[in-house]
Amino acid sequence: MSDLELRAGASPADAPRPPGRGRGRHRMPRPSALFAALFVGFLLVAVVWPGLLETAPPDAIAPAEAFQPPSAGHWFGTDESGRDVYSRVIAGTAPSLLIGVLATAIGLALGLLLGGVAALGGRVLDFLIGRVNEVLFAFPGILLALLVIVLWGPGPVTATIAVGLSTAPGYARIIRGQLLAIRGSGYVEAARVLGHGRARILGAHILPNALVPIAALATLGVGQAVVWASSLSFLGLGAQPPAAEWGAMLSAGRTYLGTAWWLTVFPGLMIVATTLATTVLGRTLTARDGARR
């Protein structure tokens, strides 16, 4: 039973809270945050300086060496054209993350715009944007993505836009809630009472305080965007095989699952690990922020 009492039997009202306690309970044990940070560091190296990590040129074709299982020479094996899967996974980091990051950026930017205007723009705008959002929600992600792709043709760019668009209403809703909560908070009220103007309150209180949770949200979103984009690749609508992009590698390797499991397992692990790492980091961020609230 144990932990229950401690949680619920938390200290009575007036005790000072030591920093780091309270809402920021350690749901993610620290080691995981450390691992996540290390992994994200690894990813960053792979993005900025892939050559440092690659063991072979990622695009070097060697048909004679096709479909070799993982070995000391090829850590993740070789693919159908004899390319080194490990090096391709490293080389694929940048494009994959780029899709994830850009899609999240698009989703967040739109979400900020919609959510921001809804929360701060008065009742009529809030109502209108609420309807717009409802309509966007009624288009499930892939539906929206399909429409975008039909409009602009398939490919990594459209896939990015599509994923970004389909995540926007969710962000808009969360951001609106966040902003409304802050706008109605005691400290914004206190600032009004002191006689601070709208612009100052927005700049000094509302936006900075909304920023951290939104940043955490973005971290969480990147992993999901990578997963979404890979699904579009599978449907033949996103990045396509020649590109060393994880989703594309995954969907290309799927064909050979019976012969060469390593073609799908390693890029798949990368996607999962990236999502895990960014989520853990996002959580840590939220938790630390929560602790201050």
């Binding site: 920093p19 005691g186 009472v193 609230r293």
Partner: protein, 571 residues
């Protein structure tokens, strides 16, 4: 601290009749001992109160009595008998059998302490299901019987309601019902009245008394001696994890020996006259002298202030909220005036419209009718742009100071921000002066509000409000979330500052004792209307409205030297 123990009032050697008997109870968390050897005996039919400031270990003691001290808690006792059974080394399984059946627990706020998603019938019936294995239908019958016994109106309807759908009093009864449904020999009530409206408070105390009268041994945990004085048979004063004083209520409260007891007593503002500091006197060591009216600079100012022009004046204020098509007048035709150097106390239960009124006065909301005028000029009818420069003239403090601080800012930055508004230099010196003003060490400037105690936070809030050099201060329940001793200190501070700076103060509280202590004039509010308004003492002496009479009657008051039980059963 040594225990001061009046002869004959200590734990009796015989524990045969005791429902609960504990010797040398110690609770430690990770090497830190928070309860350090407490002896306690609870006898059937008697109410024992444990009082102390927060951090004194009283809550942990209460929880330990149910085996709920928590994970990581090391609980030791030389003797620990519950209803004649040795439970000193009871494991979790055994405790589960005991909780609810042998010992019940009543927590503070029923809204939070009852699951908002479950009908109260199920909550109350849980113990029947768990301990007697009753089927739902049988349990329901038993619960209905209990609800009738506790005089809940319409038991058959109420039983299916959830706590949020009930009135405060009913939900509090339900909470107690859930603890006593199996008539456990011991009932532990942990701060059962804190932050409740007086009417509800009275109900809770009465129910506890009734439980005791049926033969239950009741342990009442509280920081409020006024509450305790009216109901407890015996009082234990806890400080720093140990009992420092114990004895019959009348003895302990009538002739306190330990400074901690005296401090607690002094902090009770009820019937301490306006202008008399609560704490400074208590520390002098003479409790009887503590409450002598002081004739300060106030004496003369009082008369003249009445004649002075009001600095903030509201007339005919009305604010209506529309919800689900229904209209609710949160503030209805309220007129009042604040004068420099004087305090208007506003008292009313939760939901009476006090806070809405405060927001109207602060021009955070627009009235549907009526006007607020500042210094004779327009205020509520002005535009926000026109109001902004004058806003610094009205300061405000709230019940939750922490929520009014930007979580990203430290103390220094909070104060500097406010200093700028007041058009003053916002250097380190100014910040230090402000902190001095509210009796805080200057080192606090470097901290984050998160690291401060509740009392310190409220002082920082006051400092911030004063930084802008306001002429008016609106304090909305500024002390309700605080312990009595901390509350007393804040009240003293506000009083002093008002005197020094000639502030017009609107003091809002649900606690009649506090308001009475603080106010020159008093307004009683209910359902959005001001029922009665006038000089504080006059309102108390001869209330014109039945509601005011009831409020005064239900307010707990120190019954020093009187018959505790008689006071409690005045209802």
């Amino acid at each position: 601290m040594s225990e001061v123990e009046p002869s004959g009032a200590g734990p009796s050697g015989s524990t045969d009749a005791a429902a609960l008997s504990v010797r040398g109870l110690r609770v430690a968390f990770g090497g830190t001992e928070v309860v350090r050897g407490i002896d306690l005996d609870l006898a059937p039919g008697r109410i024992v109160a444990v009082v102390g400031e927060s951090g004194s270990g009283k809550s942990v003691t209460a929880r330990a009595l149910l085996g709920l001290a928590g994970r990581g808690a090391l609980v030791e006792a030389e003797r620990f008998e519950l209803d004649g059974e040795d439970v000193s080394d009871a494991g979790e399984r055994r405790w589960r059998r005991l909780r609810g059946a042998k010992v019940g627990l009543v927590l503070q706020d029923a809204l939070a302490s009852l699951d908002p998603l479950r009908p109260i019938g199920r909550e109350i019936g849980d113990a029947l299901r768990l301990h007697l294995g009753l089927r739902p239908a049988a349990a329901r019958r038993r619960v209905l019987e209990l609800l009738e016994r506790l005089e809940l109106p319409h038991p058959t309807l109420t039983i299916d309601r959830r706590s949020g759908e009930l009135s405060g009093g009913m939900r509090q009864r339900a909470l107690i019902a859930a603890a006593v449904v199996l008539d456990p020999p011991v009932l532990v009530a942990d701060e059962p009245t804190t932050a409740l409206d007086v009417g509800v408070q009275a109900t809770v105390l009465q129910l506890l008394r009734e439980a005791a009268d049926r033969g239950t041994a009741v342990l009442l945990i509280s920081h409020d001696l006024a509450v305790v004085s009216g109901i407890a048979d015996e009082v234990l004063v806890l400080a720093d994890g140990a009992v420092v004083e114990r004895g019959p209520t009348a003895t302990v409260l009538g002739a306190p020996r330990h400074p901690a007891t005296r401090a607690l007593l002094a902090a009770v503002p009820t019937e301490v006259p306006r202008g008399a500091p609560l704490l400074a006197e208590a520390r002098l060591g003479d409790p009887s002298a503590g409450h002598a009216p002081t004739t300060g600079p106030r004496g003369g100012a009082t008369a003249s202030a009445v004649d002075s022009a009001p600095i903030l004046e509201a007339s005919g204020l009305r604010r209506v909220y529309r919800s689900r098509g229904a209209e609710l007048a949160a503030v209805d035709d309220v007129s009042l005036a604040l004068h420099p150097g004087r305090t208007l106390g506003l008292v009313g239960e939760s939901g009476s419209g006090k806070t809405t009124l405060a927001r109207l006065l602060l021009a955070l909301e627009r009235p549907d009718a009526g006007v607020v005028r500042l210094d004779g000029g327009p205020w509520s009818e002005s535009t926000e742009a026109a109001r902004r420069p004058a806003r610094r003239r009205i300061g405000a403090i709230w019940q939750d100071p922490y929520g009014s601080f930007d979580p990203r800012w430290g103390v220094a930055r909070l104060l500097r921000d406010a200093l700028t508004v007041g058009g003053q230099t916002s250097d380190r010196l100014a910040v230090q002066k402000l902190l001095e003003l509210v009796r805080l060490p200057s080192a606090i400037a470097a901290s984050h509000p998160l690291e401060l105690s509740g009392g310190q936070r409220q002082r920082v809030a006051i400092a911030r409000a004063l930084a802008a050099r306001p002429e008016i201060l609106i304090a909305d329940e500024p002390v309700s979330a605080l312990d009595v001793t901390v509350q007393a200190a804040i009240l003293d501070l506000l009083d002093e500052l008002q005197r020094e700076q000639g502030l017009a103060l609107l003091f809002i509280s649900h606690d009649l004792g506090v308001v009475r202590h603080m106010s020159d004039e008093l307004a009683v509010m209910r359902h959005g209307r001001v029922l009665e308004q006038g000089p504080a003492e006059q309102v108390f002496a001869s209330p014109q409205h039945a509601y005011t009479t009831a409020l005064i009657r239900d307010s707990p008051r120190l019954a020093v030297g009187g018959d505790a039980r008689a006071t409690a059963s005045t209802r």
